[in-house]
């Protein structure tokens, strides 16, 4: 039972990652890990404390070890892997001009930064843009 909760803690990451509140720090996942850990502890104590009542002296340690491995792997991903981001010391800074570019949009139409800045933001208005929020992302592949 505890092992299942630990697995849920690991596998539910993509779900909780949809919401910034549970993505910036995955506390919901750690909560599930904690709960799973407690349940596993209870089952270990039962298996070894009252062996005549509860069996599973072999089964429960195996699941406990597996759970620790799953938790370790999750922590490695969260605390190490996600932080391997290049330093980008040469990225343009506040006050500098944004490097100009021309790239194809989703309709294969060539679009330049100058155009993005000088044309209206939406079809509803004719006023030109006050700014562009440029979001670089890893891609969806």
């Amino acid at each position: 039972m505890g092992f299942l909760v630990v697995l849920a803690g690991f596998l539910s990451y993509p779900f909780f990652a949809q919401f910034p509140a549970t993505r910036d720090f995955p506390w919901a996942n750690f909560l599930l890990f904690g709960l799973g850990g407690i349940l596993l502890l209870v089952s270990l104590v039962r298996a070894f404390g009252k062996p005549q009542l509860y069996r599973g002296k072999i089964f429960s340690p195996i699941l406990a070890v597996l759970s620790v491995l799953v938790f370790g792997f999750f922590s490695y991903l969260i605390f190490y892997q996600l932080r391997q981001v290049p330093g980008s010391t040469g990225a343009p800074r506040v006050g500098q001009k944004a490097p100009e570019f021309t790239l194809p949009d989703q309709n294969d139409k060539q679009v330049s930064l100058a155009e993005l800045l000088s044309s209206p933001v939406s079809s509803a208005s004719t006023a030109k843009a006050n700014g562009v929020l440029l979001i670089f992302y890893r891609g969806f592949w």
Partner: protein, 113 residues
Amino acid sequence: MRSFQSRLSELESRGIRVVALSVDPPETNRRHRQKLGFTYTFLSDPKAKIIRSYDLLHAGAGPKGANVARPAEFLIDSSGTIHWVNLTENIAVRARPEQVLKAFDEMPAKAGP
């Protein structure tokens, strides 16, 4: 990116155009936009030429060791000057719309008369 879509009207009412940029080809962007209901512009930089010029290349971090962009957000004012930058140190932590709205509202010289 979903959060920027959900608050797009607030951003656009201030005249902020939201533009996403990655190594994904235009077909992927077109499909993806449709599937997830994004309405803002998606630009495609398959050879990471622009990503490199912004020093945002994350070499080998994509599928099969492909080069991708590291996450970053820039607020560029109408003169083309960068007004606000967010360079995350954690791939899972991205800029939120409220940060951008705040940065924009604090902009000293908006497009004057």
